[in-house]
Structures are given as structure tokens and as C-alpha cells.
């Protein structure tokens, strides 16, 4: 089974520029997560989708970050304009488990996109 695909793997941009990340989850996975992992910290949830709806975006800095999953499959995460503190690895994960479902199925993670803002 194919895993979670993310692109690009690496990105270097100047502050105030914009950037977009792409994620293709495992086929059939209704739930998709975006996480931000700053060096030395555990991943922090940015947004959780169920199909094309948002379940949780309480920690998404909405003044500069946006995300969409229009057809309930692929997702893009955008930052505009970027700040130095946005330098991090952005992880995408997908899962069969719905927000209201009790199951012990795990989430599967992509390789991540390493963003450096200079």
C-alpha cells in the first residue's frame, strides 16, 4: 500500500514570501492532519480534516496560514507571508479513524517538508 506522500521535501524562502505544501494521503483515509514540528519540540497540530470538512483548526495561525482539502483527498497548506519562526518540519498524516469513532487504528505519516525561512 502506498504511504502518505508529501512535497516538496525541502524549501528555503525569504521572510514575507509565500509557500505551499502538498499532501496526498493513503487512499480511503477520511482523516488528514497537518502538524508543525519545530526543532527540539514535539509535533503540534495545525489542522485536522475529516473528508473535506475541518474538525479542528484551533491552533492554526489563521492570519497567515491556510489549508484546504477540497475534494476530500489531497490537501495543501499555505503560509503567506512567512516569518522566521515558521521554520519547521511540516508533517502530514492520515487515518481511517473518524473524529467521532472509537478505533485503535494508527495514523500514518509522510516524510515531511522541511521549511527554512531566512
Amino acid at each position: 500500500e502506498a504511504g502518505v506522500a508529501q512535497s516538496p521535501r525541502y524549501k528555503i524562502i525569504e521572510k514575507r514570501q509565500s509557500v505551499a505544501f502538498w499532501c496526498n494521503p493513503i487512499s480511503g483515509h477520511a482523516t488528514l492532519y497537518w502538524y508543525q514540528q519545530i526543532l527540539g519540540q514535539g509535533p503540534k497540530l495545525l489542522i485536522q480534516f475529516q473528508n473535506n470538512g475541518v474538525v479542528d483548526d484551533s491552533q492554526l495561525p489563521k492570519d497567515r496560514f491556510s489549508a484546504e482539502r477540497l475534494k476530500g483527498v489531497d490537501s495543501t497548506l499555505k503560509i503567506q507571508p512567512a516569518k522566521l519562526e515558521d521554520s519547521a518540519v511540516y508533517l502530514c498524516a492520515s487515518s481511517l479513524v473518524l473524529a467521532s469513532q472509537r478505533r485503535n487504528t494508527e495514523a500514518f505519516f509522510g516524510q515531511g517538508t522541511r521549511l527554512t525561512v531566512v
Partner: protein, 114 residues
């Protein structure tokens, strides 16, 4: 609020000695519990998960974890460390009552000395 605490940011062991990585969580709700490993420049890989069938869970590469509800803990162990175990380990918890979002601990970096 829900949180996950990994008590040690760094653990250093000698090859062939036991490994203990500690994880505690807060919440009175029943959790789904996972340990993931992250090798440098690699993605997160599932080590093991608690499925409620048994409190002692066996995972890949000889790792085990024990769920102790009374202590709200899910510590990861391995009887004998190998050099290839050097990596960062994350305890991850999910609660149905919080929409099944994945909550990560801060991670523990395991160093294995020869």
C-alpha cells in the same frame, strides 16, 4: 486540557542494557496510545499501539509498553538496546472525547553508546 508528558528529553544507555522511556498523559477519558520512532531525516514510524486487548503491548524491534490506567502511564521498554535504536521517540495519545486529534509528547532522544 489534554496533554502528554515525556519525562526525559534525553536518555543515554550502553548497548545491551535495558531501555526505559517514560510517558504520562492527563485526562480522565480512555485513551488510544501509541509510540512512534523518528530516525534522522526519516518519517515517523509506528512502534506499537495499545488496543485494550492487553495492558502489555509488544511492538517491533523488541520494544514493549505497559498501559497502567491508575498511573495514566504508557512507558516504553526494551530489554537490550542496540545501536540502531538511537533515534527520537514520541508518545502519542488520542481521545475520542477530543475529536480524535493526535496529541504528541515533546519526544525523547535515545542515545546508545557502544
Amino acid at each position: 486540557a489534554q496533554s502528554v508528558t515525556q519525562l526525559d528529553s534525553h536518555v543515554s544507555v550502553s548497548e545491551g542494557t535495558p531501555v526505559l522511556l517514560r510517558c504520562n498523559y492527563s485526562s480522565s477519558y480512555s485513551p488510544s496510545l501509541f509510540w512512534y520512532v523518528q530516525h534522522p531525516n526519516k518519517g515517523l514510524q509506528l512502534l506499537l499501539k495499545y488496543t485494550s486487548a492487553a495492558t502489555l503491548v509488544k511492538g517491533i524491534n523488541g520494544f514493549e509498553a505497559e498501559f497502567k490506567k491508575s498511573e495514566t502511564s504508557f512507558h516504553l521498554t526494551k530489554p537490550s538496546a542496540h545501536m540502531s535504536d538511537a533515534a527520537e521517540y514520541f508518545c502519542v495519545v488520542r481521545w475520542l472525547e477530543y475529536g480524535n486529534k493526535l496529541v504528541f509528547g515533546a519526544g525523547t532522544i535515545l542515545r546508545v553508546k557502544s
